[in-house]
Subunit: 136 residues, 2 copies
DNA sequence: TATACTGTAATTATAAATATTACAGTTTTA
DNA sequence: TAAAACTGTAATATTTATAATTACAGTATA
């Protein structure tokens, strides 16, 4: 699983944690121990898909655009990581009936698998994540 | 998903395809378009877990040690890729209630998710993979 | 108009994956 | 019994993928 996903969940959870004021990329980056530009890239994806809003200029930053109870990890996964479950396969080899088809065959198994995995992720919301973090 | 998995499935399917004679790492490597040493490393894992047998020396190579109908993709996954579903998380940040716990919280979500995903993989055997490859 | 932000592109640095080389050990076969 | 064809594995080099850094234009605030 790529790291965009965990950074996105982290950021959204942080925004849910302080719904009253916007969080800057620097603030989020320090919480996640990564570079602010990386946060801005990930949040750019979330913004494009309507999960957050941003405001430029002094005092600006990021806020949730939907209640954290309504955003699931599956929603986030689809924005940041769709298709990454797929196993890396070497190029197709036309000289071998196995080598020629393995990529396609495994591809369909993993596409279905991603859906099954998604049903699991869909059970958890950003609000759940916040609750789990705080009660620990 | 790491590439060990797809190389392992590829190799096992190839062995199932020619049950009569052993396949050398060079033969498998050519079918999968990768380096023979890499194949030997992956097959070493499968051998340790009793999925295949190997024979050194001239005319040697690899053969299945169990019928391909009895080996599922979940069996292979557990040998080659257990834990790789886990998202990459930055180091824990003790100064932030979210940053301190996110890794653990996501960890448990993905451990359960791996199990769910495993139930899906468990539906497919190496024999199924061979059939799918050949009828394509 | 200085300051504190987002947005994004370009570049550099680091880490991970993969290939390559090397060589010891094991069978077969000529 | 020696050459050939293999596995097994470690060490190194190369390539690719990730991540950090730098740079700078644009925007809102005070």
């Amino acid at each position: 699983m790529n790291s965009h996903f965990s950074l996105a969940v982290h950021s959204l959870t942080l925004l849910a944690h302080q719904p009253e004021n916007a969080a800057s990329s620097t603030f989020i980056a320090e919480s996640a121990s990564v570079h602010p530009v990386r946060i801005r890239k990930v949040l750019s994806m979330l913004k494009q898909h309507g999960l957050i809003q941003s405001k430029e200029g002094a005092g600006g930053g990021f806020v949730l655009s939907r209640p954290p109870e309504s955003v699931t990890l599956w929603d986030v996964y689809q924005v940041t990581s769709k298709g990454t479950l797929q196993p890396r396969c070497p190029d197709e080899n036309p000289d071998c009936s196995v080598g020629a088809n393995m990529k396609t065959v495994l591809g369909s198994v993993f596409s279905e698998g991603e859906y099954v995995f998604g049903e699991h992720l869909d059970q958890f919301t950003i609000a759940d994540m916040l609750k789990k973090c705080i009660t620990n």
